[in-house]
């Protein structure tokens, strides 16, 4: 009988059964902000347990209330979803810089994740599929504990590509060569080239499509001819920053760079390091680090200065 009991206990323990929340699985980084990361609320490392979910991690560190049977965060530290100035506000969360397809109460934590809760105006879009503010995630540890190959796709930004690769390698990321399937892609190059990628091109369709509060407008009056194109005289673009409502807030010019992340049809995120000119791409690649990216949805680099996107409404 004792042997049977011991065997049963061993089997249950092996199957992940037991009493209480279970053993530690590692630290997770929990960040809580407001207004697209502009207002920090909480930033802490949490020791996650075997049974932890994104919701449990948050509940352990902040005073929250929920709705719909505990599946939906209603308020964090007293800041509740609702209308503000006629705009809808809500809490959204990202794990390793990627918007979750499932609820916080269902998202199991494996350890090592970067969880970011942000309270924001979603009048322009309630779907921002990926953000850059959890850098070096998702490249360093994958997404939700699953690692993917990281590829830097050079689209005419040779020097900037090298700089991007170095930035990744400084974070311990091994950059893959070739074109592996299911890879985290970083597209580096002037917008005239990068825009040919279907995922990147979503930027031109607006934040509702791409989740990126920026746009590129043509700086040249006409499309380049084939000969101009072959000589590298492609159409030039200017970076435009949008506000939280998705409206044009400021034109940053052709020399402003952009670092942003998006994803197409719920696929893996694709980052863009781009700008209207090669110099702008260099500026963007130069900002490929935590100092410039942390807790921002996307950033524009204008004359060496980081401009978090979207811009605040005036």
């Amino acid at each position: 009988m004792a042997v049977v009991s011991a065997l049963l206990c061993a089997t249950l323990a092996t199957a992940g059964c037991g009493l209480g929340p279970g053993a530690d699985v590692g630290d997770v980084r929990l960040t809580v902000t407001r207004e697209y990361g502009a207002v920090p609320v909480l930033d802490t490392a949490v020791e996650a347990k075997e049974s932890d979910t994104v919701m449990r991690v948050l509940e352990g560190e902040a005073d929250i209330s929920t709705r719909y049977g505990g599946g939906f965060v209603h308020s964090i530290d007293g800041v509740a979803e609702g209308q503000r100035g006629g705009d809808p506000y809500d809490w959204f969360f990202y794990v390793d810089g990627v918007e979750s397809q499932i609820g916080a109460a269902e998202y199991d934590v494996a350890g090592g994740e970067r969880i970011w809760w942000d309270y924001r105006n979603w009048s322009a879009t309630d779907h921002v599929p990926a953000v850059v503010g959890s850098w070096p995630a998702p490249f360093s540890d994958g997404i939700g504990g699953r690692r993917y190959p990281v590829v830097v796709e050079c689209e005419g930004g040779e020097g900037a590509c090298g700089e991007a690769r170095e930035a990744l390698e400084r974070e311990g990321v091994k950059v893959a060569s070739g074109e592996p399937e299911k890879a985290l892609r970083i597209l580096v190059g002037p917008w005239a080239q990068v825009r040919h990628d279907p995922a990147a091109r979503a930027i031109e369709a607006g934040p509702a499509e791409s989740g990126i509060f920026a746009d590129f407008i043509s700086a040249s009056p006409r499309e380049p001819s084939n000969s101009e194109h072959s000589r590298g005289l492609a159409k030039s673009f200017e970076l435009v920053a949008l506000d939280q409502g998705g409206e044009v807030a400021e034109s940053l010019g052709p020399n402003a760079g952009l670092v942003a992340a998006t994803s197409r049809y719920g696929g893996l995120p694709a980052w863009v390091v781009t700008g209207g000119t090669a110099a702008a791409v260099g500026e963007a690649a130069h900002a490929f680090d935590a100092e410039h990216l942390r807790d921002h949805y996307a950033v524009a680099i204008d004359r060496g200065k980081t401009v978090p996107l979207p811009l605040e409404e005036r």
Partner: protein
Amino acid sequence: MKSPFAYQPRPRPLQLASPGAAVAYLGAIVAVAFLYSNPLVLLAAGAAAVTAGLLAGARRAVWFALKMGLALALLIVVVNALVVDRGATVVARLGEWPLLGRVDVTFEALVAGLSSGLRAAVTMVAAAVYSACVDPDRVLRVLRPLARRSALTATLVSRLVPVAAADAARLRDAGRLRGPAAAPVGKAPLARRLLAGSLDRAVDVAATLELRGYSLDAPPARNRRSRSRYDRRFYAVAAFGLIAATAARALGADDFQTYPTVEIGLGGATLALSGLVALSGLAPLRRKQNRRSPSADGTKVPLYGGKSSRRRAVVDRSGEVARV
């Protein structure tokens, strides 16, 4: 043996009250159980339903309903604990299950299940008290002006189902009386015989109804039973209970949260409402009667109707049975 939930006429206030009053009273208890999730209020509503049933003499119905209700509550708790893994306090990890995925039993899911289970139990007890204490004939009589054919159908069903059950019991007895060596009676032949007998009886009933002129227009209502002296009490308790519940809810008496952590409000409004709801169970309480002549003027009031009533119980004006 009669079902514990079958109506039994008793000279108690709940049975003597008009169906509307009894339904309003028991319905108010159920309404409170659905308005509130706070376990304290639900326990008070349960206590009210149990007390009302016991005071109405429906001890067996209350006991059976409690057993069934608590079993259902337990089932709801278990299912909720397995299906819902929300909540901050993990009590047990049950590993990966087919279809369910990872199952974590949380304290919050257990409490949420308990709240739903309590609500189901309260509803079951109140329904059992209704079934055992409210005369279905009088309910149907109230409904007859609204839906004559439906009321007739319901009356027939309520009569014929027990008759069919008795037929089945008799057939089984007959089968057993053939002796120990006889082959056991199969369920299919028994059901066939029962169906044939029911159809025969249905034809007889139809013929009888036709002969009695049920196909003609409804006769004018006669011998409407006067209101019971207990009606006002039950209506008042129901109205007061519902108003108090609504007002207390507005004052935050339903301060109960299960996710992400359990928070049970035990404020003044909650405690006051719980007390009121529990006390409402005393509504069917009889006042002690003096042992003297049935009434001052000696007038008898028919219990179930006038001359046309098939039952012959008669009560005096104080509500006591004078003659059956």
